[in-house]
């Protein structure tokens, strides 16, 4: 069985020293090993941005696509071969700005994939512009007088879109994050894990210290029941979205793949493509 080291490759990430993304990468590698995967059984599909490079830093199958489209690509991979474990990942700009439409519909569709958002509340690779996750009043290169748009709450959106697994974590909490990713992979359906991943270069507000001071861990609420949708929504609103842990999980809804008529458990990619002459003749007969 593979250890987390086998999910490492020899590529040096081009992230800034101290970037939260390093820990997220490590957590994915650990979680993959912990759930018993081999590198070839995992496909990491990422978007564009600093975080999008992650698929190249994990020793597994990886596709670094186009901005905002990690989720539809990942869903295509999963539909084609449901035997693969598929992780989609990208930044808050990728998933909640340009790709928000896909995020909501991927949540609704509920394919069995795990979506890890590396949320730094800023555009890093383009050198510091506002993101939908930036706080109101946040000054950036594109909002020199401070952002005048309201901050988007991905957790509330996920809940209202019918998510079956919603979690949030902080990149400094490697253990907690690894455990959430494991749970996400094991969840039979779409799992959203939003991870606060401080940008040490461009976001001087939402820093490691800021998060440590402001976030609330659900570990502190032993009675919290993640299967209670209303309680989950309340908790998100109560904490202004600054909470970590497994916020909501619905284990009763089947995954999309399990609801498709005639969809086999064997990956489509491993099935025979050709049809028989008899099947062909049957198809043709309706046009006579």
């Amino acid at each position: 069985m593979a250890t987390f080291k086998e999910f490492r490759n020899n590529v040096k990430p081009n992230w800034c020293p101290g970037c939260g993304d390093f820990s997220i990468q490590a957590a994915i590698q650990r979680a993959a090993a912990n759930v018993g995967l081999e590198p070839e059984q995992l496909a990491v599909i990422s978007g564009i941005g600093c975080s999008g490079r992650i698929s190249g830093y994990i020793n597994a199958y990886g596709l670094h696509g186009i901005h905002g489209r990690a989720l539809p690509i990942a869903q295509g991979v999963k539909l084609a071969n449901r035997e693969l474990t598929v992780i989609a990942s990208g930044g808050d700009g990728d998933g909640f700005a340009i790709g928000m439409g896909h995020t909501v519909h991927a949540i609704r569709r509920n394919l069995n994939i795990t979506y890890i958002v590396m949320d730094n509340q800023i555009y890093g690779l383009t050198k510091g512009q506002t993101s939908p996750r930036s706080a109101e009043g946040f000054k950036t290169k594109s909002t020199p007088e401070g952002s005048i748009e309201s901050t988007l709450s991905p957790l509330e959106i996920a809940m209202s879109a019918g998510a079956t697994f919603v979690a949030q974590s902080f990149s400094s909490d490697l253990k907690g994050l690894t455990s959430l990713i494991e749970q996400g992979i094991k969840h039979e359906g779409f799992s959203l894990i939003n991870v606060f991943s401080p940008c040490v270069t461009f976001n001087k507000i939402n820093t490691y210290d800021w998060f440590k001071e402001n976030i609330v861990s659900l570990d502190g609420f032993p009675d919290y029941d993640p299967s209670n949708r209303m309680a989950a929504m309340n908790k998100i609103m109560e904490t202004n979205g600054l909470l970590t842990g497994l916020i909501y999980q619905n284990t009763t809804r089947k995954s999309y793949e399990d609801m498709i008529t005639g969809f086999k458990s064997e990956g489509l990619a491993n099935q025979e493509l050709a049809i028989t002459e008899e099947q062909f003749n049957q198809l043709v007969s309706e046009f006579k």
Partner: protein, 582 residues
């Protein structure tokens, strides 16, 4: 006895125009006639004039006719809007309910049949379609039991009582009109058909059928006119073969999902029309850059923007050839018949895997939606070729990765699917090296660009040109693409009668342009006319740019939303050959 006839039904959208046509023409197909249909419809669901026209012939036909023999009208508007097509002495069968009148100066025979009343007397006005098909059928003197059989199949699943009622409606419509006309119309008596089994389908159905045969198992798509029938066909069929159709949130999701699925090893396509194609452009570049197979169907309609969504046009050629930023290899093929729609899908999926490139199959509205006879399809011609796809790979050592983008002589690299043990590699839309890792190295960049762009050198697809060149030095070479071939041939027959010789080439491989194959035909013709449904002569521009001969190439363009008529093509070609101008 006549060998061909044109029939049209008109009414308000949602009034049974479609179903009347369906029953009537299915029965004609059973008798072995060749049929060619044209749908005139609007971008709305209920209301608005709509009409379906079919041409019935004892010989193969691939064009609508200039004129009309029989017009079936559910309202006066249908008469007023279509009577100009009616040939002198033609027939109008109209619902007596609205008190139909023949417009002034029109030479026509009118049969006012109480279509609505007959249907209502049998229980519901919904059966107007049956009455109308029965009346049409009876006037042609065709055997009623064949029509009855088609009705039985249409309604069989609704139970015998419904079938019986509908057959009664057919019979009552037939009886009424026969009494009024004093029997079947002698001058509309069709020669017997060859009785050979044919298929009767629209291009979109042939595309769907071809895809299933080609091993396509997934489709991701967003509804759009005139492409939706493809997804509607496949959602009925793919589950039987273990696959499915996903209706995505937009065309960007549709195309990127298809890319993901192709990457993971399943033949997957998407289908759209102009607006959707525009949204897909960035992703087409991803497919080209990452050498991931992809098949896109673009059913062209009137552009730009929302344009004329339900009308004929061929104006996306430039978008398909030049769309997407940067430079990628890409194949664009254009089926020109229903049979092509089927076989080209097999070809498209094969090409996309053999060359690891995006392949766009372009149809136009008339080809996608016009229902027509199709020769029996030959299953033995369906061959699946997955190119350099490797199943088994030797184990990788240490940090070694599979050379997914290995520099090879033909530029095509071995391809392995996720899940394979020795196949780990990276895929990125960023410029990359042989194992897929990002690289900005100038030397690598040159090599990779040359590799990708060189893959299609000398490519010639099946029937890259469809050539009908009986003359060594014709007065005219007529060039077209897509659905216009039949119309061009009909015009050529008339030109021949005038003593003008012509050759005809249908360009099926739009990109890369088949310059070498086309050049001798351009050379040997006195004049060349390129016929296309757009305003800017996009196909002619390709011909001139790649093959030259600009001095003898003229264009015949039509962009009013309607397909060319044989007479228009004939007159333009004739005029051009006489004074050198169109």
């Amino acid at each position: 006895m006549i060998s061909q006839l044109s029939w049209k039904i008109g009414g308000q959208q949602g009034e049974g125009v479609e179903s009347t046509d369906r029953i009537f023409s299915t029965a004609l197909n059973r008798l072995g006639y060749y049929l060619y249909g044209y749908r005139h419809f609007s971008s709305r669901i209920k209301g608005g004039h709509t009409n379906n026209k079919i041409r019935i012939s004892t010989k193969p036909i691939r064009a609508i006719s200039d004129d009309l023999d029989i017009l079936v009208a559910f309202d006066q508007e249908s008469i007023d809007l279509n009577v100009h097509e009616l040939r002198p002495g033609g027939v109008i069968v109209a619902d007596a309910k609205f008190g139909p009148v023949i417009p002034d100066g029109v030479d026509a025979r009118l049969f006012a049949v109480p279509i609505t009343k007959i249907a209502e007397d049998l229980g519901t006005s919904l059966m107007k379609n049956m009455v109308a098909s029965g009346a049409s059928w009876a006037l042609l003197g065709l055997p009623l039991e064949v029509l009855g059989k088609a009705v039985e199949e249409e309604f069989g699943r609704k139970g015998p009582a419904i079938v019986e009622k509908n057959i009664q409606a057919v019979k009552n419509g037939a009886e009424f009109v026969l009494e009024q006309a004093g029997g079947p119309l002698e001058d509309f008596k069709l020669e017997e058909a060859d009785g050979k089994q044919k298929l009767f389908m629209i291009g979109n159905e042939a595309i769907g059928l071809g895809s299933v045969a080609a091993g396509c198992r997934l489709m991701s798509a967003y509804p759009i006119t005139p492409a939706s029938e493809i997804m509607e066909y496949l959602i009925k069929k793919l589950p039987k073969f273990g696959g499915t159709v996903v209706q995505t949130e937009d065309e960007i999701a549709a195309v990127t999902m298809a890319i993901g699925a192709n990457y993971a090893g399943v033949r997957t396509m998407t289908a759209s029309a102009g607006p959707g194609l525009s949204l897909m452009m960035e992703a087409i570049g991803l497919s080209g850059m990452t050498e991931t197979p992809l098949v896109i169907i673009n059913t062209q309609r009137g552009g730009p923007s929302t344009g004329l969504p339900t009308k004929q046009e061929q104006s996306d050629l430039n978008a398909m050839v030049y769309g997407t930023h940067g430079e990628i290899p890409k194949i664009v093929i254009a089926p020109a018949s229903i049979e092509d729609c089927f076989y080209d899908m097999v070809e498209a999926f094969n090409l996309s895997e053999e060359y690891q490139v995006p392949v766009i199959v372009m149809t136009d509205l008339q080809l996608s939606l016009g229902k027509q006879s199709c020769e029996m399809l030959d299953f033995s011609k369906v061959e699946i070729n997955r190119g350099k796809l490797v199943k088994e790979t030797p184990p990788l050592e240490g940090h070694e990765l599979f050379k997914r983008y290995e520099l090879t002589e033909d530029g095509i690299s071995p391809r392995v699917l996720p899940g394979a043990k020795g196949g780990l590699h990276h895929v990125t839309g960023v410029e990359h090296d042989e194992v897929g890792r990002p690289s900005e190295n100038a030397n690598n960049r040159r090599k990779m660009m040359d590799k990708r762009l060189g893959k299609l050198n000398g490519l010639q697809v099946r029937d890259a040109l469809r050539i009908d060149a009986p003359h060594e030095n014709p007065d005219l070479l007529v060039i077209g693409m897509g659905s216009t071939g039949g119309t061009i041939d009909a015009a050529r027959t008339k030109l021949q009668e005038d003593g003008l010789t012509s050759n005809h080439i249908t360009i099926r491989q739009i990109h890369p342009f088949p310059t070498e194959a086309l050049t001798p035909y351009l050379q040997s013709a006195k004049r060349v006319v390129v016929i296309e449904n757009n305003a800017t002569a996009q196909l002619a521009s390709q011909v001139k740019m790649y093959a030259g001969f600009g001095d003898k190439i003229k264009s015949l363009l039509k962009y009013d939303g309607n397909p060319f008529l044989p007479l228009e093509v004939y007159q333009a070609c004739k005029g051009m050959s006489e004074d050198g101008n169109i």
